[in-house]
């Protein structure tokens, strides 16, 4: 029966846990059984071995308890280890689930970011296009301001070209007449007049030509090359164009303009239409400022613009061997308020009412002078008394 029991315990998995009971109890049971058998068969032998059997029985009992304790401990550790394994397995499952989720998340985010990046790129392209358009419209806007001035500046020379050439035709007829009559002194006098008139026709024709050329240069979008330029002539031309343009637009507008040009300035290397645009801008601003002040009807106020050029040679800056030229555009308008002074060269900043200014004039001017020509564009102003914009250009 014991053999069978042992067999069952060994065979069946669920009795495995009870196996230690066998190991613990069976020796005691066997010993007790053998002793009992001995006592029944031979009491003398039992009595003689009594102390020995007791010891063996006690030992078996102690063995049983020791086995139980050791087994229990082992079992506890086993359970712990098993639980740990289960936990680990669960952890692993959670981690791999999280990993999968993370990968999905990352893929989603990446797609989102890519989409955003593409959108941003499109927006950037649109902005660039808008900027280019704005720069072009700023050019065209100032060209629009120019056209009235140009009309005036062209009609005036044309007036001379047409009329002097008609006069010359009459004079030639007269001269022929005098020659036929033998009045050679008179004929010579007339010839002299014809010659003078011819010179005037030529002069005014060239004047009209220069105006048309500068208009074309102004509207040309590609940045041109640096050429030796007479800065005084350029400043004078744009001062006149700006003045007549403003007068054409606003009949009530009136201002004095003065020039003080330094004749010692030789031709300097600049991109003509760019510097022309800067000059036109600064002069237009100056005229705008004085015309705004004129509206306040301050008694005795005389709107005045002054354009000055000066060579900044060794005399002014002995340490600097680079020759420089200074162009000042001064007005006695209202000046630039302190709180906007640091903003005036920023793109899109304007104090003009909506629709009147793009806010790009000064920022473009600043760009042209500093980046395009390695010069400086500064402003000196006193609120309520006027502003003076100063361009400093290197001549080399």
């Amino acid at each position: 029966m014991l053999g069978w029991l042992l067999y069952i315990l060994n065979k069946h998995e669920k009795f495995k846990e009870a196996r230690f009971l066998v190991t613990a109890i069976v020796p005691y049971l066997v010993v007790s059984f053998v002793i009992e058998v001995i006592r029944l068969i031979n009491v003398d032998l039992f009595n003689r071995w009594h102390s020995w059997t007791d010891a063996i029985q006690t030992f078996a009992f102690i063995w049983g308890i020791g086995t139980w304790i050791v087994t229990r401990r082992q079992r506890k550790e086993l359970i712990k280890a098993r639980q740990k394994a289960i936990e680990e397995e669960q952890n692993n499952k959670v981690i791999s689930a999280m990993k999968a989720q993370l990968e999905i998340d990352v893929a989603e985010r990446t797609a989102e970011l890519r989409k955003q990046k593409e959108e941003l790129e499109i927006t950037l392209d649109e902005l660039k296009a808008a900027q280019a358009q704005l720069i072009q419209s700023e050019k065209m806007a100032s060209l629009g301001e120019l056209t009235a001035g140009i009309a005036h500046e062209i009609q005036n020379p044309l007036n001379f070209v047409n009329n002097f050439s008609e006069v010359n035709r009459e004079l030639i007829t007269e001269m022929k007449h005098e020659i036929e009559s033998g009045n050679f002194t008179e004929a010579k006098d007339i010839a002299k007049d014809i010659e003078d008139n011819e010179e005037k026709i030529n002069y005014h024709g060239k004047r009209a030509d220069a105006i048309v050329k500068s208009m074309l240069q102004h509207s040309r979008s590609a940045s041109g090359k640096k050429e030796p330029t007479d800065i005084n002539a350029l400043a004078d031309e744009y001062l006149r164009l700006s003045y007549h343009g403003l007068r054409a637009k606003d009949k009530s507008f009136n201002a004095k303009f003065e020039t003080d040009f330094d004749d010692s300035i030789r031709e300097i290397n600049i991109v003509q239409q760019d510097i022309g645009r800067v000059l036109l801008n600064l002069i237009n601003n100056a005229f705008y400022s004085v015309s705004e002040k004129q509206r306040q009807e301050i008694p005795g106020y005389e709107p005045t613009i002054k354009v000055t050029t000066r060579r900044l040679g060794d005399r002014f800056d002995p340490d600097n061997d680079r020759d420089r030229v200074e162009i000042r555009v001064a007005d006695n308008g209202s000046g630039v308020p302190k709180k906007v002074l640091d903003k005036i060269f920023q793109p899109f900043f304007t104090t003009k009412p909506t629709g009147l200014g793009t806010g790009l004039g000064l920022s473009l001017s600043y760009d042209i002078i500093t980046r395009g020509h390695g010069g400086e564009l500064k402003v000196e102003t006193k609120e309520g008394e006027g502003a003076e914009f100063i361009i400093i250009l290197p001549t080399q």
């Binding site: 005036h152 009609q155 005036n156 070209v161 047409n162 009329n163 008609e166 003045y243 054409a248 009949k251």
Partner: protein, 125 residues
């Protein structure tokens, strides 16, 4: 007949002298020139009643031709001189403003002198 021509273009003087050389020779027309509105007013103040006819440009630095016109019509009313405006801007606004201020005629540059001569004859008669 005395005519005051007001224009900031200096060559105007030579042009008028040549185009009217016959009239000048015969003493039919006598010209005076001023190169700004201010100069024109100075001239008129010094030579009261002398100029019968004034030809003025509109676009000039300083006092504009239209302002000069207003001054003349206000100050020199006995008898009011004939004022003709000559401008490079032939637009409607310039025209109507000149007329409102009392201009007697309005001509555009480039100037047609045969038209001008006819108009001068008309005004004088």
């Amino acid at each position: 007949m005395k005519i005051l021509v007001v224009d900031d273009e200096r060559d105007i003087e030579v042009l008028f002298e040549q185009r009217f050389r016959r009239e000048i020779k015969t003493g039919e027309i006598d010209f005076a020139f001023a190169y700004s509105g201010e100069q024109a007013l100075d001239y008129l103040n010094q030579h009261v009643h002398e100029a019968v006819l004034i030809l003025s440009d509109i676009n000039m630095p300083g006092m504009s031709g239209l302002e000069l016109l207003r001054h003349i019509k206000q100050k020199f009313s006995h008898p009011p001189p004939v004022v003709m405006m000559i401008t490079a801007y032939g637009d409607a606004e310039n025209y109507s403003q000149a007329m409102r201020l009392g201009a007697d005629d309005f001509l555009t540059k480039p100037l047609d002198f045969s038209v001008l001569k006819e108009k001068l004859k008309e005004k004088v008669q």
